[in-house]
C-alpha cells in the first residue's frame, strides 16, 4: 500500500501549500483520494467496517491537519465515514433478515446485540435500524445507543459465531461491502460535480423579471446560478462588488457580460449606498456551519448587515459538500486564513514603513489580510443547496442526514 501513502502525502502537501484551493476542488480531490484508500485497503474477515473506518480516519487526520481552514476536506471525510457505517448497517440488516435471528456480529455494535435478550426479530431489526440515526425523542426510551461507547476491539471478540460460516460466504460479503462503499463514494463525487447544475436549476424560482441582484466577489455557484436564470429568458441586472483585495468581482463581471447579462461593478464600500436599489443579495460561501452561520469570503458580513438594514433577502448558494457539522464556537473552526499583504500593498512604496530593521524589529505598519468572514445565521434569509432551499435553522436536519454523530471528531480513538 505504499502508493496510497504516497498519494495521501502528496495531497496533504498540496493542501498545506495551498496548491489545492476552493472547497469544490478540495472536496472532489478528497473524495477521489478516499476512494482509492478504500479500494486499496485490505480487509480482514471480521470487523471490516471498523478497519475501513480506521483507515479513513487515519487519512482524514492528516488531511485536516494539512489545512484546517479548508472545512470541505473534513466534511467529505465525515461523509465517507458515514457512508461506510450506512453500507455496513444495511448489509448486516439484510443479512439478519435473511438469516433470521443469528445476529451477524461483525458490525461494531456487537456488544449491543449479545446482551439483548432474544425478544423478537422485529425488535432487533428496529434497534439496528435506529442505531445510525441521530438520537431522538423516539428512541430515548429504547435501548441506550452504545455504539459510541463500544470499542472496536469488541467486534473481533464476537466473531466466534462468524467463523462457523463458510469462508466463501465471507469473502463474498467482504467484497460486497467494499464494492458498495466505493459505489457510494462515486455517487458522492458525482454529487459534488453536479451540484452547480442542481442549484442553478432553481434559479428561475428565485430571480424574477427586472430584478436587481447584488453579489460580492466571484463564486462559481453564483455565476452559474445567474447564467441559468439568464438562459431561461429572465432579464435582470447584476451589481457586482469587486471583492477587494483580490478583485475577483472583476472576473465575474467579465464572465457575466459575455453571457449577455446587464452588469454593474461597484466598489465594496459602495454596497451600503446601492443596497436600497437591490432586490436580492446572492452570494457563495466557503462553508455553512451547523447553526446556520456562514463562513464566507471577507466583506460579506458587511453586505449581510447592509441587506438586513434594508430588509433585502440575503441568499447563500452552496453545494452540500460545504455543509459542515461543526459549530463556529469551536476555536479551530474560527481559524482564518491570513494571506500575503502583497494583495493589498505594493511592497516598493511601503517598504520603508515595514522595515524590520528599525525600531527593534517591530515596524509601525502592519498589514492584515484575512480571507474569511463569519455571517451569523440570523442575517441569512435562505440557503439554496442542491437539495433545495432551506432556512438557516433547518441546517441541522441536513447535517443529521449526511453525517453520523460519532464522526464529528475525526481524530482516531487512542487504541487502548
Amino acid at each position: 500500500m505504499p502508493d496510497v501513502q504516497a498519494l495521501v502525502g502528496d495531497f496533504a502537501l498540496k493542501l498545506k501549500r495551498r496548491k489545492v484551493e476552493g472547497s469544490h476542488a478540495s472536496a472532489r480531490q478528497t473524495a477521489e483520494l478516499l476512494r482509492s484508500v478504500v479500494s486499496q485497503q485490505r480487509l480482514p474477515h471480521a470487523g471490516q467496517a471498523a478497519v475501513l473506518i480506521d483507515a479513513v480516519r487515519a487519512v482524514g487526520e492528516q488531511l485536516i491537519a494539512a489545512n484546517p481552514v479548508e472545512l470541505a476536506v473534513g466534511n467529505i471525510i465525515r461523509r465517507v465515514l458515514h457512508i461506510i457505517r450506512e453500507e455496513d448497517l444495511s448489509s448486516t440488516t439484510t443479512a439478519m433478515e435473511g438469516l433470521g435471528l443469528s445476529a451477524d456480529s461483525d458490525d461494531d455494535n456487537a456488544g449491543d446485540h449479545e446482551d439483548r435478550p432474544a425478544l423478537s426479530a422485529a425488535a432487533v431489526a428496529a434497534a439496528a435500524r435506529s442505531a445510525l440515526r441521530a438520537p431522538s425523542l423516539h428512541t430515548l426510551l429504547e435501548d441506550i445507543p452504545e455504539s459510541a461507547a463500544v470499542p472496536h476491539a469488541s467486534s473481533s471478540g464476537g466473531d466466534s459465531e462468524g467463523k462457523s460460516k463458510s469462508a466463501a460466504d465471507k469473502s463474498l460479503k467482504s467484497r460486497k461491502l467494499k464494492h458498495d462503499v466505493i459505489e457510494a463514494i462515486n455517487e458522492l463525487i458525482q454529487d459534488i460535480d453536479t451540484c452547480h447544475e442542481q442549484i442553478s436549476e432553481q434559479a428561475v424560482e428565485h430571480i424574477h423579471q427586472n430584478e436587481v441582484i447584488l453579489t460580492l466577489g466571484r463564486s462559481r455557484t453564483v455565476k452559474e446560478f445567474l447564467c441559468a436564470a439568464k438562459e431561461k429568458k429572465r432579464s435582470f441586472r447584476v451589481f457586482v462588488a469587486e471583492g477587494a483585495p483580490r478583485y475577483q468581482g472583476h472576473v465575474l463581471a467579465k464572465e457575466l457580460v459575455t453571457k449577455g447579462l446587464q452588469t454593474t461593478i461597484i466598489t465594496d464600500s459602495a454596497v451600503f449606498a446601492m443596497i436600497s436599489r437591490v432586490n436580492m443579495v446572492i452570494v457563495g460561501a466557503h462553508a455553512i456551519m451547523a447553526n446556520g452561520g456562514v463562513i464566507a469570503p471577507v466583506g460579506l458580513n458587511m453586505v449581510a448587515l447592509a441587506a438586513r438594514r434594508h430588509a433585502v433577502p440575503f441568499v447563500v448558494v452552496a453545494g452540500s459538500h460545504k455543509l459542515c457539522p461543526l459549530y463556529p464556537h469551536n476555536p479551530e473552526v474560527l481559524l482564518n486564513d491570513l494571506r500575503s499583504p502583497a494583495d493589498l500593498l505594493d511592497f516598493d512604496e511601503f517598504s520603508d514603513c515595514m522595515d524590520f530593521a528599525s525600531r527593534g524589529g517591530s515596524p509601525l505598519l502592519h498589514v492584515v489580510n484575512p480571507t474569511f468572514d463569519y455571517v451569523p445565521p440570523n442575517l441569512v434569509s435562505l440557503f439554496i443547496t442542491d437539495t433545495g432551499g432551506h432556512n438557516p435553522s433547518y441546517m441541522y436536519r441536513l447535517i443529521a442526514d449526511y453525517y453520523s454523530a460519532d464522526d464529528l471528531v475525526v481524530k482516531r480513538r487512542s487504541t487502548s
Binding site: A134, L137, H138, I144, S393
Partner: protein, 388 residues
Amino acid sequence: MWRRSASFVLEKYQLPSSPMESPKSPQSPNPNPNPIPNLNSTHGISAYYQTRAEHHGVVTSDWLAQAQAAVEPPSPPSERTSPGSGKPFSVIEEFNYWRKKPDLAEAVAAIMALAAVIRSSNGTTMMELEIELKTASDALKKGDRSSISLSAGCDLFMRYVTRTSALEYEDFNAAKLRLIERAERFGEISLKARRTIAMLSQDFIFDGCTILVHGFSRVVLEILKLAASNRKLFRVFCTEGRPDRTGLRLSNELAALGIPVKLLIDSAVAYTMDEVDMIFVGADGVVESGGILNMMGTYQIALVAHSMNKPVYVAAESYKFARLYPLDQKDLEPAIRPIDFGVPIPSGVEVEECARDYTPPQYLTLLFTDLGVLTPSVVSDELIRLYL
C-alpha cells in the same frame, strides 16, 4: 388569573375547571381578603416548586453523595410496592415517593410511578394496560399542573408504550416486563443525558470566559463541574435568584469546586452584562416553539442578553420537551410560590407569585440537549416526529 388562551392544549386543561371559574370573579384583585395574602394562599402553591425547594433545602454535594450511596442498592423500590402493601395502589403516592429523592428529575419520578402502575396492573391485554396507564397519567397530571416535565414525562412514556408494544411484542407478559425494565432504566438514561449535555457543552466554554447563570439547574451545575475538572479557566456570575435563593446555593456548590464566583442581585444583570460572555440557564420545560419555561427572571436576562448580543445557552434534557405552545407570558397556568418579603405586606397589595416565565425562542441561541446541540426550531421537529 390567566386569560383564556387560544392554545388548544390549555383549553383542554381548563374545561373541567371552567364552571368554578366564573367569568367575573376568578381571582380578581384580592380573592382572599386576608392581611397577609402571601402567607395563606398556600392552597394554590405549585407542588413542583415546593418539592424543588425541599430538595434545595438539603441538597449539598456531600449530602447528595450520601443519598446516592443510600439509594444505591436498587432493590427497595421494587419490593416496596409489589406484594406487601395491602392498601389499594395509588399513583400519586408512588409519584410522591419518587419525587422526594433529590437527585431524581421530575420526569423520572413520573415514569417510575407509571412503571409501578404496570407492575400492579391486573390487566391481561395491552389495551387494558394502556387504559390503566392513561388514567394514572391523567391523575398525575391533574395532581400537579404546574410541572411541565411531569406531564412531558408521562406523555413520553405513554407514547413509548403505544408505539412499541403494539408493534413488536407477541407475548403480553414479555412486553410488560420489557416496559417495566425500560422505565426503571429511565433514571439511568436521565443521568446519562446530563453527562452527555455536559460533554457537548465543553466546546463552548473557552478559557477566560465569564458565564452568567440564573437559577439552580442540575444540568448547568454538571456542565460547570465538568469544565472545572477539564481545567478550563472561567468565572461564573450567579444571580441571587429571589425568592428561594437558588443562586446562593449554586454559588455555594461552585465555590466548593474552586470556581471563581460572583453573586449578583437579580436586578444587576443588565449592569454586569457587558462583562459576560455567555449565559447558561436550565429549563423547567422546553415548549414546542423552542422557547423555554424557566425560573422567573430568565426572560428578562434573555432580553438583556439579546440586546447586548450575548449568546444564551439552555441546558435541558430532551424529556423536558413538552407539547405546549404558549403564546405569551400569561398563557400558562401560573406556578404559584410563596414570596417572603421579610415585612408584612399591607392589605390590598397584590403580589406576583408566579415562579416562572416563558422565554420565546428568538432570544435563545442554542439548546444543549442529550439529542445534540440544537437550534430552538428543532424542538418542534422532534416533538412532531414523536407524536405524529
